[in-house]
Symmetry: C2
DNA sequence: ATAATGATGTTGCAATTGCAACGAGGTGAT
DNA sequence: ATCACCTCGTTGCAATTGCAACATCATTAT
């Protein structure tokens, strides 16, 4: 039990709440804790879901099953991560199927029970509500930012927009790392991996950027 | 005052709350009501915002000002609509500039004051919180759906995905209307208007769809 | 060291799409 | 009715991108 509470202190939903506070919340909400083996289904695409999932150990993967049967991964979340919180609060049905990516232990907080709970400490209630709303709102803006990467005119502009967003962390020589593989980058830009490699080559040849694998440097911002 | 309350009953944030309830909320939160002339700035891109705006009359437009100075409209909201609620609850700065699209009267509810308010009626508080979260969560899924339109492989698939989402409202002959101009559709699909017109022609010629202007019919789903 | 595996770079070719320019139909104001 | 304006369709051409196949470079296991 103390083990669980310790894990929850690392969870965004409980930001700013003490261990004692978390303990009292657990007592009040009596959340389910369920175990999953790798590949077990947690949320089914097309169904409603009113549980906020907190990953105590292991991880999950959210996938969309296309009409022709193959699964495309939408997001992966690991220990201390939260999932299902946006869906719980919405009127929508799940756009994805969620499965365990490894042996996992997950705590489920019922959304309605959370909202309707009678907290003695109203400030603590407000704090959780604030945390919950921040998580959903920030997700919205992250998604919006990702979308802007997809809609900017040409591949080259998208690459620059992407590199810009990481260039803050450049070292004294101007080099910085990006966290995605070429394949993942291509998916962010909505293009083919080879098209991306090709355009990166072009930009290097034209003297606009320098790079090796995942380390980049912007030489000239067209 | 009764006029204002009547307007607020049409507002999503107050869904399920009686007029008396709305009145007591107004008394408690003492929201600002400000007037704007067409073109007046309400929210500035890059700044924080902690106010939920409710449009009592008139309308607003949210725009992104690109580096080369021209403004692209991100969204438009009219009477009884709400804006700024996602931004208020997030840690983000505004990605858009919001201006009045006509002479407008707007009520601003301070986010922190709303969350921290001491409601006598806790159920009413919960109701507003629920409404607020539903609005943000649903916005997330709307955005996600729009993004999926952009990322699906080919233009033709995107067109089908788009038409599908409106084909529920088909009449007995299978025709249905869509609410966007070609230009707006092209923007949704992230393509050129002429490319869209061309592909629509192709699909008509191949016998997959029939259409005239904004009225469509799906003949054969490839 | 060698082999196996995975990520990245390169390239030819074909298909898709962007761009620009123009024509046709529809709508509203005068 | 005429004109101005807006939306939509069409088309030629060039640029971009997708696809597929193969080469190179790194990393890890044996």
């Amino acid at each position: 039990m103390t083990e669980i509470i310790k894990a929850l202190t690392e969870c965004e939903l409980f930001t700013g709440i003490s261990r004692d506070g978390i303990k009292s919340i657990i007592d009040l909400l009596a959340p389910d804790i369920r175990s999953f083996r790798k590949g077990d289904t947690i949320i089914v695409e097309g169904e409603r879901n009113r549980e906020i999932g907190i990953i105590l150990s292991g991880g999950i993967v959210a996938q969309k099953i296309s009409a022709d049967g193959d699964a495309s991964t939408v997001s992966e979340i690991d220990k201390n991560g939260v999932f299902g919180e946006i869906l719980s609060g919405s009127t929508a049905i799940s756009p994805v199927t969620v499965t365990a990516s490894s042996v996992s232990e997950i705590m489920f907080i019922n959304y309605d029970r959370l909202i309707d709970a009678d907290f003695d400490d109203r400030d603590m209630y407000r704090r959780i509500i604030r945390n919950l709303i921040v998580m959903v709102s920030d997700s919205y803006f992250r998604l919006q930012k990702r979308m802007s990467l997809l809609t900017v005119g040409k591949l080259r502009q998208r690459i620059f927009a992407y590199l810009d967003s990481y260039s803050d962390a450049a070292d004294e020589r101007g080099f910085f790392d990006v966290p995605h593989t070429r394949e993942a980058q291509a998916s962010l830009f909505g293009c083919d991996r080879s098209a991306l490699s090709r355009e990166l080559s072009n930009m290097k040849r034209e003297g606009l950027i320098d790079y090796y694998r995942n380390t980049f440097k912007i030489l000239y911002r067209s």
